[in-house]
Homo-oligomer: 122 residues x 2
């Protein structure tokens, strides 16, 4: 798949919140997944498909998702960007908040090999 095809497929799956299907079909085994901040001072970088599966497990268990929107993808060469806007409630703290971030993805041989999540500032 080209970068554009991967980008469109990710966007389609994320809009359905089909996180596991996206991971299983579009991610490389050596995926590196980077958050801007870590929960509780842990590492911001996660390596490998099973690590990313753990992040999805955490998200699905921790968050009640009221809405999750993905922009059309922006694509160039081996890179694409999607903006996400979510309205969620943390199940434990009951805190409801809006999340706005972009995912910056790198594609190699038709698979996502790196993803970085950058929250909106200001």
């Amino acid at each position: 798949m080209s970068t554009e095809e991967v980008a469109k497929k990710v966007t389609e799956l994320v809009r359905k919140q089909s996180w596991y299907e996206a991971l299983d079909t579009l991610y490389g085994n050596d995926i590196v997944s980077v958050e801007a901040f870590s929960a509780g001072g842990g590492p911001t970088e996660t390596r490998g498909k099973e690590g990313v599966r753990g992040k999805i497990d955490w998200w699905v268990n921790a968050m009640e998702v009221h809405s999750f929107k993905a922009s059309e993808p922006f694509v160039g060469h081996d890179r694409f960007v999607v903006q996400y806007d979510a309205d969620v409630t943390d199940k434990k703290t009951k805190e409801r908040r809006k999340l706005s971030e972009v995912g910056v993805y790198t594609v190699k041989n038709g698979k996502i090999v790196r993803e970085e999540f950058l929250p909106r500032v200001g």
Copy 2:
């Protein structure tokens, strides 16, 4: 400057279309600037500050800009992303069109060392 400070400054200058000031104050000498597509089959990658100055010269001479909007920046580690939405007329062809793209920037030692422009797809 931190990545976030560079990101905010770029956004502020771009909103004023102060391209040359952004280049002179925020870019590293070895900047690599990447377009998704090239004009007329030339290279998509430009290296060095003078190369980027040439891109700005081209833009300023070629385009009548009706509006140019920049999103708030998205920031994580050494990377930031800004979305641009422009309404322009190509002075030569008189064609008016809307451009929507993101810039993905990499910062090192307080200077922008890489920028990639990714147009919206679909």
